[in-house]
């Protein structure tokens, strides 16, 4: 058998039959036209963002032609008191909204993973509603609700709205995490003498943790850059970072706006990458 292989190997160069390597029909990425389409897509998606970042370093009052490199607009944005206040508002809202929505979302995700109850399918679909309905509808309904309840618009109403739309995202992530959970873990813990409280904190919660962290980061990011719902539910003195940027743009698109936006992109990106890393690392640790 070995000899046969050898003759085949030595015979190959003497008889160079040109044959195209057979390609896996699903191996799209090796096709030239597909690579071009992919590249085009990437350009389409990321060029505006890259341009925005690049022009934040542009030494020009207006954002049309490249005049040279500078960091002065970052400095200007940094020293802009109104932008500063907006940023602090955003951080306050995002922090409170994340804490509350992560708590409720985790409980919701766990409850849906664990319990069977009549109308569960309906309920399951219903809690996903805030993920799928247009933000504008949610914004309008929130505004109508707060108006009807006579609640003055401000940081409180924004925070409540953010909590409302973040909960389902957290719940979905936590529940996805729990789908790999072996119910025997909890039984084993109980069997070994732990009560339900101990079982939850020693066994269930540590397993759930990566999902909770990922959910929390997701909620934080969503709150951080939300515009539409915030726009409807904000009142005087509760301008958030995205809304401030929008109002600045209405005057003129200066590199200062670019700089502020770039800062927001960097924060969002960092948090998203952290969330993804935590999730993939925990997935690898499960080793399945």
């Amino acid at each position: 058998m070995n000899a046969k292989l050898e003759t085949a190997a030595t015979a190959a160069p003497t008889a160079p039959i040109k044959r195209r390597e057979r390609r896996n029909p699903l191996d799209y990425s090796s096709m030239r036209w597909m690579q071009i389409v992919l590249a085009g897509n990437f350009m389409f998606l990321y060029f505006p963002i890259l341009a925005l970042v690049a022009f934040s370093f542009n030494d020009s009052k207006r954002n049309i032609t490249w005049q040279g490199f500078t960091l002065k607009y970052y400095e200007k944005a940094w020293n802009n008191i109104a932008l500063h206040d907006a940023f602090m508002n955003t951080m306050t809202i995002a922090t409170i909204s994340t804490l509350v929505s992560t708590t409720f979302g985790t409980m919701l995700g766990l409850a849906i993973y664990r319990y069977k109850f009549p109308g569960k399918a309906l309920y399951d679909g219903w809690i996903h509603l805030p993920i799928v309905i247009p933000e504008i509808c949610m914004g309008v309904s929130m505004l109508a609700f707060f108006a009807a309840m006579n609640i003055p618009l401000g940081i409180f109403t924004i925070t409540v709205s953010h909590i409302a739309f973040s909960i389902p995202f957290v719940a979905v992530v936590v529940r996805a995490r729990m789908s790999g959970f072996d119910p025997s873990f909890e039984e084993a813990s109980t069997d070994l003498g732990a009560n339900q409280w101990q079982t939850f904190w020693n066994v269930t919660f540590p397993y759930m943790m990566p999902g909770v962290v990922a959910g929390a980061l997701l909620a934080f990011t969503l709150s951080l850059d939300d515009f539409v719902i915030t726009f409807f539910t904000s009142g005087p003195g509760s301008t958030t970072f995205p809304i401030k940027i929008y109002s600045m743009v209405r005057f003129s698109v200066t590199p200062e706006v670019n700089a502020a936006s770039t800062a927001l992109i960097v924060i969002t990106l960092t948090l998203t990458i952290t969330a993804m890393t935590i999730q993939s690392r925990s997935a690898r640790r499960q080793g399945k």
């Binding site: 873990f185 039984e187 084993a188 813990s189 069997d191 003498g193 499960q286």
Partner: protein
């Protein structure tokens, strides 16, 4: 033999229903201290449900369970004097091996130093010294199972419950682990209750086994009795291989039963107890002999044609179509290296066995 002792587990008229499905149907028996007891049966027979009721994860629809003299009706799983080794082992993935083993001690308030020392000791018991700082994903399946064993044994339970403990291991490891479990049980002296669907496992490890089918306990006996004196067709068929011929009782005299079997005529077998009407006449494959010539009288004989020979190395299983209209399996030990005497398909052979080796199966 053990009946004089006080049972450690008393199962009294336990019935468990899941909706319209009866998982356990009026189960009633005792398990004695220090026994290695097996719950044996095909999947869906209710053996796992019964084990989970002992652990406290399921509650009985009717009847009661006593463990160590205490009624268990209102006792939650974490307060029962039993511990369980789960089929999936359920070793906590986020804790080291040592933390896993010490877990049951820590949550019940055993001081850290003592918990650690006892956990180390338990790891020694299952030959996992030095594995304490590993994470479960760095262990093989067999090692994870040992962790699960140590974690349960460290609690010094009155009864250790094992749910299909060997089913996830490969064949070689399974054999080693059988011996290991028996050795461990002798060392710790704890009552073991094991659930298994594998009759070899039950026969080779257990002191006694309860054979279950569709929620009912069919027979409780030691391995030898289960194999040689099965009380029903189900048990005879489930434990080992058996050839069954349908017959009709035609007379009883002096501890011998005369049975009319189609294709074999009237045969007489020793039998104590009652039997009438339709009975099954059965014989284990290894109790039969094959010969080219008609064997001497005094044996039950039957003619057949070889239809298949399955060679297993140490033995061969010969399948024959018989005059009785039943396919019969016999086993032949391959005692010599020579394969000259090997049977070939189509050979006419006489099958014979002693009346004493015949089983009479009612119902």
């Amino acid at each position: 033999m053990t009946e004089a002792r006080k049972p450690i587990i008393r199962i009294r008229n336990i019935t468990k229903r899941f909706g319209s499905v009866v998982a356990c149907d009026n189960v009633d028996f005792d398990i004695y201290p220090g026994e290695f007891f097996a719950l044996l049966g095909p999947s869906g027979c209710g053996k796992t449900t019964l084990l989970r009721m002992l652990a406290g994860f399921e509650s009985a629809s009717e009847g009661e369970i006593e463990i160590d003299g205490q009624p268990m009706l209102d006792v939650p799983p974490n307060k029962r004097p039993v511990n369980m080794v789960f089929q999936s082992y359920a070793v906590f993935p986020h804790m080291t091996v040592l933390d896993n083993v010490a877990y049951g001690l820590k949550v019940t308030g055993v001081p850290k130093a003592e918990a650690r020392a006892r956990a180390e000791e338990a790891l020694g018991l299952v030959h996992l010294e030095g594995y304490g700082q590993r994470m479960p994903d760095q262990l093989s399946g067999g090692q994870r199972q040992r962790v699960a064993l140590a974690r349960a044994l460290v609690k010094k339970p009155k009864v250790l419950l094992l749910d299909e403990p060997l089913s996830a291991l490969d064949a070689k490891l399974r054999d080693a682990m059988r011996l290991e479990l028996v050795r461990l049980q002798h060392t710790v002296g704890i009552t073991f209750v094991i659930v298994t669907h594998d009759q070899d496992e039950a026969l080779s490890m257990a002191d006694r086994a309860a054979v279950m089918e569709r929620g009912k306990v069919m027979q409780i006996a030691g391995p030898g009795d289960l194999y040689e004196h099965p009380n029903s067709r189900f048990v005879a068929d489930f434990i080992g291989k058996v050839n069954v011929f349908e017959g009709k009782v035609s007379g009883v005299s002096g501890g011998r039963l005369a049975v009319e079997v189609g294709g074999m005529g009237r045969i007489e077998v020793p039998h104590d107890g009652v039997a009438q009407g339709d009975v099954g006449i059965a014989v284990r494959p290894e109790k039969t002999r094959l010969s080219k010539d008609r064997p001497a009288s005094g044996l039950i004989v039957l003619k057949g044609k070889v239809t298949d020979v399955a060679y297993y190395g140490n033995e061969s299983h010969i399948l024959l179509d018989t005059d009785a209209g039943v396919q019969v399996t016999t086993t032949v030990q391959n005692e010599k290296r020579s394969t000259d005497a090997a049977m070939t398909i189509g050979d006419d052979m006489w099958i014979s066995w002693s009346p004493e080796d015949t089983l009479v199966l009612n119902g």
